[in-house]
Symmetry: C2
Subunit: 282 residues, 2 copies
């Protein structure tokens, strides 16, 4: 479990990393950070969100009891390969990555035996990026998902669950790597593909003055970090392609129902969507 002496090191001080640092510092823990961008480190030092920080981990990795990797998905594995020799024995390492199958088994297969990697996914974010936008209040309404494998100890699972509580996430749940990536493909990735495709369908920006809240709500997530999301999509390509294909089939069915003017079937589809959506009301 987390104790008053637990030292955290945040690797990658972006929106999420910065929010972790703030939340942990507020609770009185020692927090350090590593980022290739010296300005990000200086910003967090000036704000008092971290106690120490630099770009290569010198004097930081050997003292951390818990490392949080706030890195882009494509560089998480390489970071472990390049840096694991410097990490203190017994350290628990976690991440914030939005896809799991593509990184977790690989890291767990190459990691030093006296370290433990337990993956987690804080389902929180904003449509902006960078440490200057970090804000621990984004955790309050959000879910924290832990994805343990048979390589993980009960002790590490408890530790990360404790981290979720410390960060004040609304809920903590546990899923397998597969369950996590399937859920993310539908709830998060498919919805982003839809919003992006809707904005790209035709240039309808001349309609902005007629736009109501429904359209704004539906397309809000069309503002998207192209570097991060292209990595996330490709790492989850199999599940996401299946979700896209299922959705395209369903929408084509609706299209054909409309073309045939099959009113009864159209009403059945409306009644079904209404019933299902009501379950998602808060």
């Amino acid at each position: 479990m987390i104790s008053q002496d637990t030292q955290f090191c945040i690797v990658g001080l972006g929106l999420l990393g910065g929010s972790y640092a703030q939340a942990l510092k507020l609770k009185g823990y020692k927090v350090t950070a590593i980022d290739i961008n010296a300005d990000s480190i200086q910003y967090a030092l000036d704000k008092g969100w971290i106690d120490d920080g630099n770009s290569d981990g010198t004097n930081l990795l050997e003292n951390a009891d818990c490392i949080v990797l706030g890195l882009y998905p494509n560089i998480v594995v390489d970071w472990i390969i390049e840096n694991q020799d410097k990490i203190k024995s017994g350290c628990i390492i976690t991440d914030v990555t939005g896809v799991k199958r593509g990184i977790v088994p690989e890291i767990q297969s190459i990691l030093r035996g006296d370290l433990e990697f337990i993956a987690s996914h804080p389902m929180a974010g904003r449509e902006v990026s960078g440490v200057t936008y970090s804000d621990p209040s984004i955790f309050k309404p959000a879910n924290f998902i832990i994805t343990p494998t048979d390589k993980n100890s009960e002790q590490a699972i408890s530790f990360i669950s404790d981290l979720s509580s410390t960060l004040e996430f609304n809920r903590t749940t546990t899923l397998s790597l597969q369950q996590h990536d399937e859920m993310i493909a539908f709830l998060s990735q498919l919805t982003h593909v839809i919003a992006v495709s809707l904005m790209n369908t035709n240039d309808n920006t001349h309609l902005v003055e007629y736009t109501g809240d429904s359209f704004r709500d539906l397309t809000r997530i069309a503002k998207i970090n192209e570097n991060l999301w292209s990595e996330l999509f490709i790492m989850n390509k199999d599940f996401l392609l299946k979700e896209i294909d299922d959705f395209l089939d369903e929408m084509k069915r609706f299209r054909d129902t409309l073309e045939k003017e099959d009113v009864e079937e159209m009403k059945r589809l409306f009644i079904q969507s209404t019933k299902r959506r009501k379950l998602f009301d808060k």
Copy 2:
């Protein structure tokens, strides 16, 4: 223009009709209502939203200076055919219908020469229906669209524009019937088809506990009145099918880009959607 003596008659006392009645009564106008449901009339009388009301228009239509048709699209034309003989000469008639080409030319071609029908569309609503949910505050952030034709007089256009101000809509704009129906096909109808199809794709209601605000925002409009919207969709079938087909093509393009792992093209699509969506920020 509207004067202190102008008498309004609301035909169809549902969510919108009831909201019109309330807003007009608050401004001191005489308001009557016609509805086949006696309970709706009684409810509005008890609330003081109308001065008089009944189910067949007796003593109401012959005194109204402005009639607002708050009816389902399929019965608007029939109502005119059956009731226009009772309407006071010089009356200005408008509607609230969400599609225009399917009703406006027909009404204007059969209407008595001493009456004038000028169509309008209050782009306001809620995900519930019925007079008990009516609430004039839904007009405050909304657009009011007037769709005049060459059959309309400047006087009637001014009168309806004045009605929009009286109801306190945020903006009043004018579009042709064709422009209106094209705009509605994209901004409103296509987004409803997307939300409905997403909820219907697979039964993913077991994922409710993982759902964030993005998914809720995107699917809120999947709760839909099946009788009203099946009529609206069929009346605008040509434009809506084109919008659906364009969207399906665009989403298929994204799907193939992902399958090929064409990262540069994927990033281009993300950057384009981000840029376009930013124009819709309030």
